[in-house]
């Protein structure tokens, strides 16, 4: 047996420092930092979004909406337009008693909110928030998960959202929950097919499954996805609403018929977790729509190299600008969610299903065929 090497503290410390300053170590540190970043971002979005979703309809209906909760610490005294309302709500939810109905399936009941949170966070990790930057001589991609098959990964993970709905609705032993879950899961799987079909022309046009590569291809705004593949964008936009069970496709909740749908029996922090998952997946889909159809972190009127030159050759600053561009685009889609919710009435269930199966599916297939022929005539 070999003797153990001498474990001198300074030697160990030097070894660790050496490892961390090597390219592999820098990559490791960068990965953790990126994780932290996505984590904070993802936890920040839902409260702000909930606030926006209560203030916006209030203004649309000539009410004030929540405008009381603010800061009151010594000299700092401001209502902040009620921005802290969501924080107060969250704190309240956490300190409430958990009431699990009798006859609920315990394992499934506890598992459903976990699915909601982790599926949303995993997709958030796959979105490129900026172009690759070079730090300490190592190339660092600005997305936690960078795969050659990014598209397929996002596809696979976003399907997991159905599990939340099904498990939550079935396990809580409530007929309204079950009905809501059945409707929602049938709706989500039905709209997943057009969603998949709508992204195929993008793969045909840009010829890659890597999300960052797709963004790089969309330098100027006339090269963006929604101009090159407008039908795809339309289908994707509709599927976005159906996948997140938002109005006008919110039959899963349908307050007037099903109490609250699949999460009727959820309360306290578990309800908050399901809510968090829903809002994060809305944010992630908004980011995805901006990435695929609106040039992601590209500014649109100048190329990335020009932007770097303009910002004194600093890649980090350019990445920051790009990240803000992406956030702005995503914010538009988030606003669009709210806007549509308070504008359009709810669909009927048979209308919803025939829209998905009889209109969007054939349209998606035709779109692929036409795009393939056009690309073939232009390129071959």
């Amino acid at each position: 047996m070999m003797g153990l090497p001498e474990l001198n503290p300074t030697v160990v410390l030097n070894g660790v420092i050496n490892y961390l300053s090597s390219p592999a170590g820098i990559e490791l540190i960068a990965t953790f930092l990126k994780f932290l970043f996505v984590f904070v971002l993802v936890l920040q979005v839902p409260p702000i979004m909930v606030w926006a979703e209560r203030r916006a309809p209030a203004f649309m209906q000539r009410r004030k909406g929540p405008n009381r909760v603010g800061i009151d610490i010594g000299p700092l005294k401001s209502r902040l337009y009620g921005l802290f309302q969501s924080l107060a709500d969250t704190v309240k939810l956490i300190w409430k008693q958990e009431v699990m109905p009798d006859g609920a399936n315990k394992v499934m009941y506890h598992l459903a909110p976990v699915f909601a949170v982790f599926a949303a966070i995993m997709i958030a990790c796959a979105i490129p928030f900026g172009n690759d930057i070079t730090a300490f001589g190592t190339k660092i991609p600005l997305s936690v998960i960078r795969l050659d098959v990014g598209f397929l990964f996002i596809f696979a993970i976003s399907s997991l959202g159905v599990y939340t709905v099904t498990l939550a609705g079935w396990s809580s032993n409530n007929k309204y929950s079950l009905l809501g879950a059945l409707r929602a899961s049938a709706q989500m799987i039905s709209y997943e097919i057009p969603l998949g079909l709508s992204l195929l022309p993008i793969v045909l046009i840009y010829g890659t499954l890597d999300l960052n590569e797709i963004v790089i291809e969309q330098t100027y705004f006339w090269q963006w996805g929604f101009i090159k593949a407008p039908v795809s964008f339309l289908i994707f936009l509709i599927c976005m609403f159906a996948e997140t069970n938002r109005a006008p496709f919110d039959l899963a909740e349908g307050e007037s018929e099903l109490v609250a749908g699949f999460h009727t029996e959820y309360n306290s922090a578990k309800f908050a977790a399901i809510f968090l998952g829903e809002y994060v997946s809305m944010f992630v889909l908004s980011c995805l729509a901006s990435t695929i159809f609106f040039g992601g972190w590209q500014v649109g009127f100048i190329s990335h190299e020009q932007l770097v030159n303009l910002l004194f050759g600093s890649e980090a600053l350019a990445a920051f600008v790009g990240f803000n561009a992406l956030l702005l685009k995503a914010a538009f889609f988030m606003w669009f969610y709210v806007w549509v919710r308070w504008t359009l009435p709810r669909f009927r269930y048979d209308q919803l299903m025939s829209l998905g199966w009889k209109f969007m599916l054939p349209l998606g297939l035709a779109n692929i065929l036409v795009t393939a022929l056009v690309v073939a005539f232009l390129k071959f």
Binding site: I94, V117, N173, S268, M353, L361
Partner: protein, 117 residues
């Protein structure tokens, strides 16, 4: 670093966050005396029926059709990535593939599998 290492990390982080969030409900919230009525499913006040009931067969049918068409979509992704290498051969091939797919789709529509009443 293997590009799939962050995937595993993301999985661990996501599940942990989910467990923390839903665990908070169980451990932080108050625990009050058990009352039968309070723990009944929330159903309008009439005697509750629960959810272990029969479901419409339409939902199963939708699920089966979903699996069929979703697999077709995944096949199409493979074709789309190699589209430029395949050239015109790929175009003709996908025409045949879509023809068969549409034939199946038309059959499904004709049999009324997509009708909801």
């Amino acid at each position: 670093m293997n590009p799939y290492v962050p995937v595993i990390l993301a999985l661990v982080v996501g599940v942990t966050l989910g467990l923390i969030l839903s665990g908070m409900a169980t451990f932080i919230g108050p625990k009050k005396v058990y009352k039968k009525v309070k723990y009944e499913p929330y159903e309008c006040g009439v005697p509750t029926v629960g959810s272990r009931d029969k479901m419409s067969v339409k939902f199963y049918l939708t699920a089966i059709l979903f699996i069929l068409f979703d697999i077709e979509t995944v096949f199409l992704y493979l074709w789309a990535t190699t589209f430029k290498q395949l050239g015109w051969f790929g175009v003709v091939e996908i025409l045949v593939f879509l023809l068969i797919l549409v034939a199946g789709y038309v059959y499904v529509v004709k049999r009324g599998a997509l009708e909801w009443d």
